[in-house]
Structure formats: C-alpha cells, structure tokens
Symmetry: C2
Subunit: 154 residues, 2 copies
Amino acid sequence: MSYANDMSASTGATSGDAGLASDLRLSVMRLRRRLVAERHPDNDLSIGAMAVLGGLNRYGDMTLGTLAQRERVQPPSMTRIVNCLEEGGHVTRQPSETDRRQVVVALTDKGRKTVLADRARRTEWLAQRLSELTDAERAILRDAAPILERIANE
Amino acid sequence: MSYANDMSASTGATSGDAGLASDLRLSVMRLRRRLVAERHPDNDLSIGAMAVLGGLNRYGDMTLGTLAQRERVQPPSMTRIVNCLEEGGHVTRQPSETDRRQVVVALTDKGRKTVLADRARRTEWLAQRLSELTDAERAILRDAAPILERIANE
DNA sequence: TATTGTTATACTCTATAACTATA
DNA sequence: TATAGTTATAGAGTATAACAATA
C-alpha cells in the first residue's frame, strides 16, 4: 500500500478514484444526516416508510420480500415498516393468490395521497437548497442522481 | 398545492427541482445504507468515528464542540464517539489552555495511521463501483461531490 | 448566568435467530 | 426440505434532559 500521492490530508482536496470515493462517501453521509434532521416534524412516517410508499406509487404493488430487496433491508425490517404503514392505513396486506406465503403490499388511496402530499414537504428543505444553486450546479446533480442510484442498487 | 405536472408516479423519471430533490434524497439514503453495509468487517470503528478522524487529520485538532458541529451531531453523541476513539488510542483529550471547559481532541500517531490505512479500505467498495463507471460519469460525480458537501454543511 | 462537555436514559432503525405457514 | 414472512431479541447510533465544571 502506498499513500505517497495522497495529498488530501494537507490540501483538503483529493484526486483520483480513492479521493473521489472518500469525498463522495463523506458527502453522502453528512447529507443523509442533514436530510433526516430536516424531516418535517408533523410527518409521523419514517424516511424509510416514505421511501416504501414512493416505491409502491412508482412501481406498483409489490410483495414484502421484493420491497425488502428494493430498499436493501432485511425482511424483518420491512415487516416493521409495513406494519407501521398498515396501521396508518397507507397500505394493505394481502396474501398472494399464486403463492400464499407471499404478502402483497398495496397502496391505499390514503397512502397515495400521502405520497403526493408529503413529497413536496419532505423535499422542501432540499429543494430550497437546490434552488439556491446555479443552473449548472443543478444540472450536475441531475446527472449525478441516477448514477448514485445505480451505484446504490448494484 | 398542485401536482398536475408531476409525472414521476407513472414514468419513473422526474423533472424540476421537486423531482430532483426527491430523486437525490432517495439516492443518498440508499447509497448511505449500502456504504454502511459494505463497511469492512475488521474495522472496529464506526463510520462516524472514522469521519471524525478524517476531519482531525484534514483540519487539525478541534474542540469537541466544534467536532460535533462539523459532523452535525449533538455534543453527547460526539462525547461517545470521542470516548471510543480515545479508548482505542486514536485521539487524546486535553483541556483547552484558554478555556478549561473546552476539550481539545487531537489525533495521535496511531490515529493518523488509522486514517491513512483505513481510507483506502473504507472506500474500497465505492472505489470499485466508481472504477466501473465511464470517465464521463466519474467526472459528473467529481463535480457533484463538493456540491453535495456544500448542501450538507449549509 | 451562560456555556462546554458529560452522564443517564430512551428512542429509532436495523440486524440475526428462531419460528410458523405454505410450497 | 426450502421459502416467505413474522416474532423475539439485541445492537448501533442518535437524541433530550439533567448535571458538573468553568467562564
């Protein structure tokens, strides 16, 4: 292992893939914490739960297992999230017709409304920050978002 | 509130700031979870602890309060992180000479070594993913990282 | 009195292991 | 026997509230 060319310690700027990975990792961690902190207080659903609603709204009804895979959590974690959503009346659980071990999670009208109403609210803080950027900077992030998504889903 | 122009539900592609904010937020959340999951098993320091070491290495010794502000955590959380780092011999605590309420956290030689040695290891997974991108995609992320960082620190 | 950091405590989210039911 | 999901339990990381030491 050689760190002879790693100048990040002294300059604060990194170069190369290792530096980019380091910068990106820290940025993602900090931004995520900030996003969690900025969650609107009168939204009683966790960010994970809202992501599930968003996924159901975007891609349609899914089994619990598929949801767990998509959100990169273990099945028990998804069970908890779906419990919470079901209690709130945002989704329904139905045994699959083809395989009764599977549970199909479906968005209710209330859930759909929540997705739409909360989307603006949840992204309010970030959208505000984005609106303060230049067009060029926004364009960079618009290009970057799907790449980040792809990396996360790999 | 109007969502008449919001096509994301049916197309999977969003446009405008609200859509970008939504996409970016989800990407950041998923990527962060993935990064946490990919943490190297023989690294006993949490990602938060490593971020603190990285900050000290990059910007020099800091008080506990400054570290807490920089990492966007509350002081008790930073106390815990610093406890862990001190027990591991990665940092030292010293009362500030000018204000003895303050605690100056300083990187030890071992801590510095840990930063350097772990940086490559911690970013290994992400660097691997980055290496699979095209030059253009990497360039986008290189441009995006500081913007994300800036947003997170605002 | 106000501020810096610590201690005590609790909450959120997640995971693993053991279990139930279906296949 | 294998798979989908649930229940029970534990761990990591964070927060708020109350406190001690210093300014």
